[in-house]
Amino acid sequence: QDGGGLREAMAGVARRLLRRGLGVAAGPPSTRQLREAEEAAPVFQYAGKAARRKDRVFVWGFSYSGALGVPSFVRPDAGWKKPRRIQPTPYHLETEEKISSAACGYGFTLLASNTRDITKVWGMGLNKDSQLGFQRSRRDQTKGYEYVLEPSPIPLPLEKPQQTRVLQVSCGRAHSLVLTDSEGVFTMGNNSYGQCGRKVVEDEIYSGSHLIHQLKEFDSRVVQVVCGQDHSLFRTKKGTVYACGWGADGQTGLGHYNITSVPTKLHGDIAGVNIIQVSSYGDCCLAVSDEGDVFGWGNSEYLQLASVTETTQVNVPRHLPFNIGKIKEAACGGTGNVVLTEEGNVFVWGYGILGKGPNLIETAVPEVIPPSLFGWSDFSPDIRVAHVRCGLGQFAALTSRGELFVWGKNLRGCLGTGRKEDQYFPWRVTVPGEVVDVACGVDHMVSMVRSFT
């Protein structure tokens, strides 16, 4: 009886302690305790009201020429890094300013921003013909760099450097063009065929040259500049096209096969036509008018202009009578051409890997690439292709959703798919962002991307 009384007293003490909260009940936390702990937890904020989408530049392809702008790929700066000859997937390139226009040449790249700061254009890659201007070498102050591994500012001889804006850049085989809004076009690089728009000087040494030529004599303001392999095309606001440079394939479109060293107006089928877009990369040129017609001139060895003529060189612009709808945009590659119609359909013709499987190697008449290859389906019926671009052996298409599709010859990893094989039909490139624009070169590509959030 005594023991029982003692036990009761102990139980009573324990109960009183529990009621006062001094003795904690063991066991799993009850739902109420969990809910209270959750409400008391701190809230973290990762994105504030002013969070904006960031603009980035991604590069991929052959890096040893320095065209990708990442010096550690060519000369590793840490012991564990190995030289990277090819960058197979998109790599984020850090830039100081927002890049609005980019162009890939044959082993070099130009990036331009439409800022009002003094430095507006950066260049990287091959500089053996001063296509990136004069880049003073730090080891020897009198000589210039032959390979520029990092995006380096290009000093342009502007009259009003703090007011003029750079609208667009374009690169050819060994020359480049920079278009400004009020000071005309600046050209630099190789001029052995007059492609820089100035008189050809015999035995001129282009390496380490300081010369940047300015072109102002056009009938109206120049709104687009395009570089072919060794020629240049200028499109003015009035819709006229000027050309200069090598003409042995008729790519200057001036009616002869000689060199032109002064930009001269083109006639032929585009006389009096308001041209809204010109394109060229190899030796063939295409122009699109405001009414949706496409005109071509230049090299036709790969059936690019075989729909109108059997000759392999066309030196006067000819209208290409395709019945595929109103054409919005055209792009010329080395051996193949691509156009985009108003409905969003992509048509290809020419020679090489055209994007319709390994069986279609050449065609003179444009063939459509089925929209289902660009992500169109019953589930997402409002996807359409917004832009098309061409490199020397590859094609790129941008959809309205910001996805990038590439196809063609995978020269030194220029497609960016991560695989070494050529791609015979459009393949999605995984880019961490919405692709706004892409520039294709011979063996590398540059894209301007906006982040998702």
């Binding site: 937890a41 904020q45 319709k356 289902s372 992500g375 997402s380």
Partner: protein, 259 residues
Amino acid sequence: LNAAPGRAPRQRVRFLPTPGGGGAVELVAARVPVLADHPLVRGPRFRKLKIGAGHRLDVKASGVFVLGIGHGNKLLTDLYNCHLTKVYTVGGLFGKATDDFSDTGNLVEKTTFDHITREKLERILAVIQGTNQKALLMYSNIDMKTQEAYELAVKGLIRPMGKSPPIITAVRCLQFALPEFQLEIHCLHETQQYLRRMVHEIGLELKSSAVCTQVRRIRDGVFTVDDALLRTQWNLQSIQEAIRNCQLKVETELEKTLG
């Protein structure tokens, strides 16, 4: 099942002797039921049933769950080899992150979510679809250099016909009302935990956090929610009717895919 009228017993022709007078024994042919088929000899027809399950469904998930009875087990294996897509409705909640990605787990972090808009969510979903589209082509083990690969890609019929990691073929946002949202996901070779993890990763991508509140399978290959039986319909009649209704669908699908 055992109470239902079974097969009629087999009949056999036997020559039975007639009870006659002394002398010659005459045999008369008579059709008699085989004694071995007598119900008292044979016993109950069904002593156990083989029931197999189709694609797995979590404890926390709900929706269509396919079962096969008897011969249906073989059809289940064939359906598995068809590698058809499954459709889920996944509900999510922004603002919380838990350790098992669902709203019943231990809280890891709370974040703000008022900067999230429907456009941002749809952009992320587009990227998920894009990367999974690539995975679809890569795991289908077709040589990309052939003309038939191009033709299948145009028709959208390229699909991995073997083992592969989970692939999402289509996603779209059905409802969006902060902090809740609902997605419809078409996928292959997935687990429900993978879908919950995807909701968590969508939250991270949008610079916030998300947990999954609901995973409901609304379609498994050819079987949809309309064919499914509710808890109150788990009786012999409904099951037999359901099997009869689905037979034709299953047959056509198997023939189309496996030939």
